[in-house]
């Protein structure tokens, strides 16, 4: 080993620890940088263990020493000062042994990356190191800050003030010979395997959530309370418990409390003072604070049971809508956004107008989400608001509007939809417009579709677009439509025009979707046609019609 190589290696380790603290705070666990930081840190330690089997760091207020060698110095008493960070919690020595596992180092780095200054934690580095029960990371701690030196001396003096008089023992000796207690018969049953099984069961049970029990205790205290001050205090306890439950995604427990409180609230014998306090709890549940906590929980990758969420939302009032709408622009995960959208669809009918305000959001994705919510709510009043936005420059929003107009709309929406049918710049928009006409299901919409198909220009459209038109036509299953489609199917041409064959194939497709048995002879004929496209589409349609008839018996 060259002189000082181990020191260089220690400095690399320290540098890596500082980097790891930053990266682990900044990046989520699934980010590659996070994983790389852990790997790099482990490699740095391994590099050191090439020289020595143990790395001992001595911590001073502003310095870290490796033996006599200063390996880190920073004179600022701030959290990013590694020496100060360890020293302030009483750590005086840290040692890493060669057998330290990757998992141990990861746990160690996670602890030192916590933001102790800004997070509400009852822990410091020492208690968290302790809880991790490291096998190959040791530390020396000074916890003199807990001590009151004078206390020990005083207490010892007090209990030692009466020394046992030797005569006392003589007396005991004499008297105990005749009066002493005999040995107590204690039936000790040795602990057996069955006891251990019971114990394991107990420990398993103990690992279950405690929130419900905690809530029950608050209810018990509530039942025993009498004054309005007590009720007000207990309402605060409930709020604290709800806050904790939401933070931990315990939706079921929160709903249970709210159901019980609702029941109490609906009891005529309950005083106004109690009812008033219960109302404050419901108000709290629907507050921005709680909704944002719920958002944080959802955004951290946790899943919730949709039915539990639905049950919880039933206790929210219209005041919760703006906070949920704000969440849409705050959340990162698709899952969390989906949950919030579903929540808004449930809450929206309580204050439809507020939901429509979301259409003015500067973020395109929020607008799109709100349009989705409006569609889910299904209130026809949304059409007016959507028509105002139909020329939105963002095509993603335009698509969502056209789709929703199709589902909610009336004759007023036809014009903007037709306009989109002509828009060649965005194929998705065109497709959405075709489907929107189908969703409208109106006579006018049908006419528009048939007119489009009859137009000369239709022949030259892309096959997929044609197919979409015929797909939508299959929504109308009346005789007139069947006749029309058979007519298109059997249309003869003097020349072998491939574009006409495309139309015929699409008509076969549509007849298959309708399930028209009367079309079977025509389709069979086309099945034998030399044109491959018509032949294949007719074949598929026949199979589909037969399959559907078999299913329906």
């Amino acid at each position: 080993m060259e002189y000082g190589e181990d020191i260089k290696s220690v400095k690399m380790v320290i540098k890596m620890l500082l980097k790891a603290r930053k990266n682990l705070r900044m990046y989520p666990v699934n980010n590659p940088i996070y994983a790389n930081t852990l790997n790099d840190s482990f490699e740095k330690f391994k590099a050191f263990f090439y020289f020595k089997d143990k790395l001992v760091l001595n911590i001073r207020l502003y310095e870290i020493y490796y033996g006599e060698q200063l390996v880190y110095q920073n004179n600022k008493p701030a959290g990013d000062n590694l020496a100060f960070f360890f020293f302030k919690d009483g750590l005086r020595e840290l040692s890493f042994q060669e057998k330290m596992t990757f998992e141990e180092l990861e746990a160690f780095l996670k602890v030192i990356s916590l933001d102790f200054d800004n997070e509400v934690l009852d822990d410091d580095t020492v208690t968290l190191f302790w809880e991790n029960d490291f096998q190959h990371i040791r530390y020396v701690v000074e916890d003199e800050f807990l001590a009151d030196e004078g206390y020990e001396e005083q207490a010892v003096l007090q209990v030692m003030k009466t020394q046992n008089d030797p005569d006392k023992f003589k007396n005991i000796y004499k008297e105990s010979l005749v009066t002493g207690d005999t040995v107590q018969k204690v039936d000790i049953v040795a602990i057996a395997d069955n006891d251990l099984k019971m114990l394991f069961y107990e420990l398993e049970e103990d690992a279950k959530d405690k929130v419900d029990k905690f809530m029950d205790i608050i209810f018990e205290i509530f039942y025993k309370s009498k004054s309005s001050e007590e009720f007000s205090e207990i309402a605060d306890f409930f709020k604290g418990a709800i806050e904790y439950a939401i933070k931990n995604g315990n939706i079921e427990s929160t709903t249970k409390i709210l159901a019980r409180l609702k029941k109490i609230d609906s009891n005529d014998k309950v005083t106004n003072s109690v009812k008033k306090n219960i109302q404050t709890i419901f108000h709290f549940v629907g507050s921005e604070h709680i909704i944002y906590l719920l958002g944080e929980y959802l955004d951290s990758g946790n899943k919730t049971d949709p039915s539990a969420m639905k049950a919880l939302i039933s206790y929210f009032d219209k005041n919760a809508i703006p906070s949920f709408m704000n969440l849409l622009s705050m959340l990162d995960s698709i899952y969390a956004r989906k949950v919030v959208i579903d929540v808004l669809a449930l809450l929206g009918p309580k204050d439809f107008m507020t939901v429509t305000k979301g259409l003015n959001s500067p973020e395109w994705y929020v607008v799109r989400n709100i349009i989705y919510v409006l569609r889910e709510i299904g209130d026809k009043r949304a059409v007016d608001y959507l028509l105002k936005k139909v020329n939105h420059p963002d095509v993603r929003i335009k698509i969502e509007i056209i789709r929703t107009l199709g589902e909610l709309g009336d004759s007023r929406v036809l014009a903007p939809i037709i306009e989109c049918l002509e828009d060649d710049s965005e194929i998705q928009l065109k497709f959405t417009a075709i489907r929107a006409l189908g969703s409208l299901s109106s006579k006018d919409a049908r006419i528009v579709l048939l007119d489009k198909i009859s137009a000369k220009t239709f022949q030259n459209k892309e096959f997929n677009e044609k197919k979409e038109y015929f797909h939508i036509l299959s929504r109308w299953k009346d005789q007139e439509m069947i006749d029309y489609l058979i007519k298109v199917l059997m249309k003869k041409t003097l020349f072998s025009n491939s574009k006409i064959y495309e139309n015929r194939a699409c008509a076969a497709y549509s007849l298959g979707l309708i399930g028209s048995r009367e079309a079977l002879p025509f389709l069979s004929k086309c099945q034998r046609d030399n044109n491959r496209l018509l032949n294949e589409f007719s074949d598929s349609a026949i199979k589909r019609i037969n399959h559907e008839s078999q299913k329906s018996g």
Partner: protein, 466 residues
């Protein structure tokens, strides 16, 4: 390199101890050539050789009450409890301190070791075992070493410091809470961590400290004592470090509701009126109130509130406070109830000036098993404190007077004692005696014949235990 080194894990070491115990226990029942023993031998040989591949030699050493495998202390837990106790008892009886198994140990060599252990004579067992296996190169045994008195003294000093630090800290915290000040629970947690650490290392010495009841500030000592007893019991039940810390915290605050009880009631020497008794009975509810006002709701607070509320509710759902909807009691509540009752019974409190001797208290608790107290937990508790808990004054068959200062794992009725008076009643400089020790004829040197009531005879046990 990311994979965990299996041999180095504490579980592998515990499993090896377990397997060795299984082997020796089966050999006590069957002949060493029996198929059952053969299977146990094969398992052990396989496991130990796997271990040796990664770790070098397998060195199993009994130091005090703990096993060390390759200098790594094996923590006491319910998983290995039965076999652990068995092995401690066996090593002590045979006077074996260390067993070393080196690379290449073969099945027949392990059979020889097993045979030497289970067929060792009562007299000079170690010598005979040593002689029997002297021809085996891959196995060595060494005699059990007595703990050096100076080491014990150092340990005592440390334990004393930790104990008083905990009491003084608790007093400070409780005073601040009472005055409505904000309390940093980080420090309380640090104190508990330090206490748990000490309990893991020196459980019996700390139990000894908790057995002294003559302090002025009963309340604070009681909080710390309950915490010590709860953590020690939790350790026996196999709780992990995090759980032990939680248990330590919740037990420390179990009586926080008493802070609001007027001192005229709390310190009343006469009978309490019905009204006063009702105030006392409200302290579990007040405890929840204090806790919930003290800090934001988190897991520790929830557990603390549950224990504060339930620690006077009994196993059979009697006790107080009465509730509308009854639930099974929380595990921590049942642990704290045991610790609380034991410490309260053995202390001189305002309303009960004469404390019960530890063994009598234990007897009363046994009577309450299944009604007031959880029978399973009580069983573990007795296993921990022994039939003669620390602080019990005993008369020996030698007519010497002794004071129990440590229980003895595996020997519930043979604790370690301090001889404080000779066979004629003369006070002597206290010296330790392990009641497991035998004379040259293989008989126990000393045996307890009766117990005495410390308070009745006004013996200040602090003279010996502090």
């Amino acid at each position: 390199m990311k994979a965990k080194n299996q041999a180095d894990s504490p579980k592998t070491k515990r499993d090896l101890i377990n397997q060795l115990a299984v082997l020796l226990r089966s050999a006590e029942i069957h002949h060493v050539k029996n198929i059952v023993v053969g299977k146990a031998v094969n398992n052990f040989v396989f496991q130990v050789n796997e271990f040796i591949k990664n770790e070098g030699d397998f060195i199993l050493e009994l130091r005090g009450d703990f096993f060390f495998v390759n200098e790594f202390r094996i923590r006491y837990s319910s998983e290995i409890m039965i076999n652990f106790d068995y092995l401690v008892k066996l090593f002590r009886t045979l006077m074996v301190g260390t067993v070393i198994i080196k690379s290449g140990a073969e099945t027949n060599e392990i059979i020889s070791l097993t045979d030497a252990f289970v067929n060792a004579p009562k007299i000079n067992p170690f010598e005979i075992i040593s002689r029997k296996i002297s021809h085996i190169n891959s196995i060595a045994v060494y005699e059990l070493k007595k703990i050096v008195e100076e080491d014990l003294l150092d340990a005592r000093k440390m334990v004393k410091k930790s104990y008083f630090k905990a009491v003084s800290f608790t007093q400070g915290v409780m005073n601040r809470i009472q005055q409505g000040e904000t309390v940093a629970l980080k420090k309380a947690k640090r104190m508990i961590v330090s206490l748990v650490d000490r309990i893991i290392d020196q459980e019996q010495l700390l139990l000894g400290m908790s057995s002294i009841k003559d302090y002025d500030e009963y309340t604070y000592h009681h909080c710390v004592n309950v915490s010590i007893l709860s953590i020690a019991l939790g350790q026996r039940l196999g709780l992990n470090m995090k759980q032990l810390t939680e248990l330590g915290m919740v037990s420390l605050f179990h009586d926080i509701g008493k802070l609001d009880i007027p001192s005229r009631i709390l310190n009343k020497t006469g009978e309490l009126t019905e009204e006063e008794w009702q105030v006392i009975q409200r302290h579990p509810i007040e405890g929840v109130r204090f806790l919930l006002k003290m800090k934001h709701v988190d897991f520790i607070l929830i557990r603390s509130a549950i224990v504060a509320f339930e620690h006077h509710m009994f196993y059979n759902h009697t006790g107080y406070p009465t509730v509308k909807k009854s639930h099974p009691l929380d595990l921590y509540s049942r642990i704290v109830t045991l610790a609380d009752q034991y410490d309260a019974m053995t202390s001189a409190r305002v309303y009960s000036r004469i404390p019960m001797s530890p063994d009598k208290a234990l007897n009363l608790m046994i009577k309450q098993s299944g009604s007031q107290l959880d029978p399973l937990l009580l069983q573990f508790f007795i296993n921990m404190v022994g039939i003669y808990p620390v602080g019990t004054l005993v008369v020996l068959d030698s007519m010497e007077l002794g004071l129990v200062y440590e229980s003895n794992p595996g020997f519930v009725n043979r604790p370690r004692i301090l001889i404080i008076a000779d066979g004629e009643g003369n006070k002597v400089d206290a010296f330790p005696s392990d009641l497991v020790d035998k004379n040259d004829e293989g008989n126990y040197r000393r045996t307890i014949v009766r117990t005495l009531d410390v308070s009745k005879w006004d013996i200040n046990i602090a003279e010996y235990l502090v």
